[in-house]
């Protein structure tokens, strides 16, 4: 079947895969970019968002409602997690990795207890195809592309053009200085985490119709999102570029070979990219560079005293 190297349908697969990856990674990227912590419970938050979507479907509500409800559930969960967990680990980024891994397990267990562990299947809000002239293509996947574009635009706008973004960037750049200007850095961190968790919830609601909803579904999404965020490092533009490139690569390799080889594509590309460019794509002069979530200087995750010292 290698006769068909690429066609319009496959090109759209590659684009929509990149868009999906961007949506999946955005919540993780916001938290990593603004708080410099890696939220390994991201996959489980996606799973919770997907269950929110499944519940919407089970109650015969409009499938579109799944998106705002997924966001709301994510934000609410984010609030609880920040207050109970994340806040206590501020300044201990390595321990935050461990704690969020544990949190992911807890969320899986709780969802299993409440909703059972069997697979659930959710209908799409959009079914059928759209005729694009050159190709007829799944309308839902095209909707994901539009959604990703809107998400990118909002993230870019908020970080660069609003006071909120300015405040957030000020806290990252110099927390002490920001505090002297009356910025409540604790509130900034709390809101950041809530928004990041909310975006994970949205991603969950969006992937629910195209996969099986079950408690362990988040793991593969987490891995892909984690890899893309490491490569994007700290810029919204970098995230978009990484997601589009790696998503397309995954889809293309899958098309040429087999899905398993496709599924390791993102991982291998990430390991290579970070070896060559330790700061990922934010080291490149990208058009979206001004959208940097975090200043480029400084190395990531310095081992702080509290983590290392026992």
């Amino acid at each position: 079947m290698l006769a068909v190297v690429i066609n319009a349908d496959q090109a759209l697969n590659m684009l929509s895969q990149g868009a999906l990856l961007f949506i999946l990674a955005s919540g993780l990227a916001v938290i990593f970019g603004l708080m410099n912590i890696i939220n390994f419970a991201h996959g489980s938050l996606i799973m919770v968002g997907a269950y929110a979507g499944a519940e919407v479907a089970a109650h015969h509500l409009s499938s579109w409602l799944a998106i705002p409800i997924g966001f709301a559930v994510g934000v609410a969960l984010g609030f609880v997690v920040e207050v109970v967990l994340i806040r206590r680990l501020y300044g201990r980024p390595w321990d935050t990795i461990l704690a969020t891994i544990g949190l992911g397990l807890i969320l899986i267990a709780v969802v299993s207890i409440v909703f059972g562990r069997e697979n659930k299947y959710v209908g799409t809000p959009l079914s059928g195809e759209w005729n694009l002239g050159f190709d007829r293509y799944s309308s839902y996947r095209l909707f994901l592309v539009i959604f990703a574009a809107a998400l990118f635009a909002s993230l870019w706008f908020v970080t660069n053009k609003t006071r909120l973004g300015l405040v957030a960037r000020a806290v990252i750049a110099n927390e002490t200085l920001a505090a002297t200007h009356g910025i409540d850095s604790r509130a900034v961190r709390r809101w950041t985490f809530m928004v990041g968790a909310g975006l994970a919830g949205v991603a969950g609601a969006l992937v629910a119709p195209i996969g099986s909803v079950q408690p362990n579904m988040g793991q593969d999404y987490l891995v892909d999102a984690f890899m893309v965020v490491m490569v994007a490092y700290s810029s919204v533009g970098g995230l978009l570029l990484a997601a589009l490139l790696f998503g397309a690569a995954e889809s293309w390799v899958t098309f040429l070979t087999t899905p398993i080889v496709g599924s390791v594509t993102i991982i291998v590309l990430t390991a290579i990219t970070l070896r060559v460019l330790p700061q990922g794509f934010s080291a490149l002069a990208l058009p979206g560079r001004d959208g940097a979530l975090r200043p480029r200087s400084g190395r990531d995750l310095p081992t702080p005293p509290e983590d290392a010292v026992r």
Binding site: I97, G104, A109, R117, T257, V309
Partner: protein
């Protein structure tokens, strides 16, 4: 034995940080292990065998993470490689001695090769610290997915693809496995305890606490990490081989994230950096887990997850850490009731052992030359061409306003990979593009602004490690008599550091920390010493010790570069002064000339004369 002798022995056990209590505990464990098979059902014997194997795996993880500070999120890769290689060997070569021997050796070799490759990629490059987590996670994911690949390649002819490999290696009864794995676990626990308590173990803890500082003391940190990573991978592969052989089965799950997360959780809960904790944790979780989860899988996962999170937040040293910390708070109470024990760590003054390149007669000879040093961060130029030379026997003081590039100067000189452009010559050797450890071993010592120490070291550990100058110490012995050159001994006696050799660095006062910072740099016996504000935060009294000491060092032929703000202090001890301003040396000369010059006033006060 008299009562007094017994009390003395007990006192030693309690007071000394010796192996004895741990060995005693191990004895209890061995006895429990010996009688367990006659008490429990076959089912629990079966679970114990699996727990023992997991405990060995946990030891490998603890050596790497708990002691060396390298977090591998995909350690299952090595475990699984061990399991798969013995499986493939058994199915291809048969179940005889040949199949087993080649299987075990091949698994260990495979894990070692993988670890060397991954470690080389991760440790010998300027990647961010999180990279090791990314690449180990990647390794486990890629291997587990490729192992599950049934189509597309001939790989699955050997691995069995998603089905995995069923193979029957031995027909030993469970009890034989129990003894084999039990004895292996005891031996490995003892070896690991000896290793982590040896002088080499102290170096590893230094890597965990502050690898950067260790590099500036001359230690080849990447090599240390690679060594432990490889050792850990080899042990993990052995555990994996045992696990797969015992279960007669190897599947992609062995390589996957569940196994990787399990060992992380076991070591965290048991207590990272304790060896015993992870072993005990593996056994408890290995027994309780299946018992509970067979009936209530979700609830077991919930409890385990919650326990893991609670321990990460409240007991970072895990359960065993909590128990030993509790024992430590009891120890002074016991000590009061028992005869005092002499501190075991002693400082032994020795001669300065390193060759002194500039002898007294050659004072004034150039030891180091900096030519046109430049350093830029993107479009920000911090150093714009600095020229200086450092002469034996003199103190050269670098002054300048904040942001002039003083600390950057020290940084690029001691880590010349950071240099954007320019030439550095130490003792006639061009020293550009070298990492800190190489420069330190060429005889360049430095201190850090503020302090930059290994916080869980004792003072004695710090001085011992600094005095080794990067050479790898014994893997089994622990040195209690720490050789120390006269200069350091003098300093430590004067500052009172010598009285607190067994105190943890994190418990030291600020003045003592500064003194230790300087002592460590001196213990390196450098030719050139770069000091970044060594008197900041010191009392006048302490400061009055440092000045003469620096003069004394200079008198012995060392070249000292001092970054300092306190102009009175500078006046008192400096030979020459260099004024750094906006990344350039504006003027160099004798102290009186420079300090009084209009230029200095202009730079500091912004007054144009």
């Amino acid at each position: 034995m008299t009562a007094d002798a017994a009390r003395l022995r007990l006192g030693r056990l309690v007071a000394a940080r010796s192996l004895a209590p741990k060995l005693g505990l191990l004895g209890v464990g061995v006895v429990a292990m010996a009688i367990a098979p006659s008490l429990v059902s076959t089912h629990y014997e079966d679970l114990l065998v699996q727990s023992f194997i997991y405990a060995i795996f946990a030891i490998s993880f603890d050596l790497l993470w708990g002691y060396t500070g390298v977090l591998s999120l995909g350690h299952s890769a090595f475990f699984g490689v061990g399991g798969y290689v013995i499986g493939v060997s058994a199915t291809q070569l048969g179940h005889g001695t040949e199949g087993i021997a080649i299987g075990i050796a091949g698994g260990v070799a495979g894990a070692v090769i993988l670890a060397l490759a991954v470690g080389w990629v991760a440790f010998y490059s300027r990647v961010t610290p999180i990279y090791i987590a990314v690449i180990t996670l990647s390794l486990a994911l890629v291997l587990s997915r490729l192992a599950a690949l049934t189509s597309f390649t001939a790989l699955s002819d050997y691995t069995g693809g998603y089905n995995g490999l069923s193979f029957i290696l031995t027909s030993w009864p469970i009890t034989s496995w129990y003894w084999l794995c039990g004895i292996a676990l005891v031996v490995l626990t003892v070896l690991a305890l000896v290793l982590v308590r040896s002088d080499f173990g102290r170096v590893l803890i230094g890597v965990r606490d502050n690898e950067r500082r260790l590099a500036y003391l001359g230690y080849d940190v990447p090599r240390l990490k690679l060594t432990v990573f490889t050792l850990s991978a080899a042990i993990a592969a052995l555990a994996g081989a045992a696990y797969a052989s015992y279960l007669d089965f190897a599947s992609p799950d062995l390589l996957g994230l569940t196994v990787a997360t399990n060992v992380l959780i076991i070591v965290s809960i048991g207590g990272r950096g304790t060896i015993i904790g992870p072993v005990v944790g593996a056994i408890i979780i290995g027994l309780v887990g299946p018992t509970v989860s067979d009936r209530w899988p979700e609830y077991w996962q919930l409890v385990l997850g919650a326990l893991f999170v609670a321990i990460v937040i409240f007991l970072p040293r895990g359960l065993w850490g909590a128990i030993t910390d509790g024992a430590k708070t009891l120890r002074p109470l016991l000590r009061r009731a028992l005869p005092a024990e002499q501190p075991r760590t002693r400082l032994v003054p020795t001669e300065w052992t390193q060759p002194r390149r500039a002898r007294a007669a050659e004072h004034g000879a150039s030891l180091a030359r900096f030519v046109n040093l430049r350093k830029s961060f993107g479009s920000l130029h911090v150093l714009r061409g600095v020229d200086l030379d450092v002469r034996g026997g003199e103190i050269l003081c670098v002054i300048g306003p904040n942001g002039a590039g003083k600390s950057t100067l020290i940084n690029v000189v001691t880590d010349s990979r950071e240099l954007s452009d320019g030439e550095i010559v130490f003792d006639g050797q061009r020293s550009v593009g070298l990492p800190p450890a190489r420069i330190a071993r060429r005889g360049v010592g430095r201190t850090f602004q503020g302090t930059n120490l290994m916080e869980t070291y004792t003072v004695g550990d710090s001085l011992f490690i600094a005095g080794r100058r990067g050479s790898i110490p014994s893997l089994w012995r622990r040195t209690h008599d720490i050789p120390l050159n006269e200069e350091v001994a003098t300093l430590d006696a004067a500052t009172g550091l010598a009285d607190v050799v067994d105190v943890r660095v994190s418990d030291l006062s600020h003045g003592k920390r500064q003194a230790l910072e300087l002592s460590m740099a001196l213990a390196l016996e450098p030719q050139v010493l770069l000091l970044d504000e060594p008197t900041a935060g010191l009392t006048d009294e302490e400061r009055s010790i440092v000045g003469p000491l620096l003069r004394e060092l200079a008198a012995r032929g060392i070249g000292i570069v001092l970054v300092e703000h306190d102009l009175d202090f500078v006046r008192a001890i400096t030979d020459r002064v260099a004024v750094l301003h906006q990344g350039r040396v504006e003027v160099v000369g004798p102290v009186e000339e420079v300090v009084g010059s209009p230029l200095v006033r202009e730079i500091y006060l912004g007054v144009k004369s």
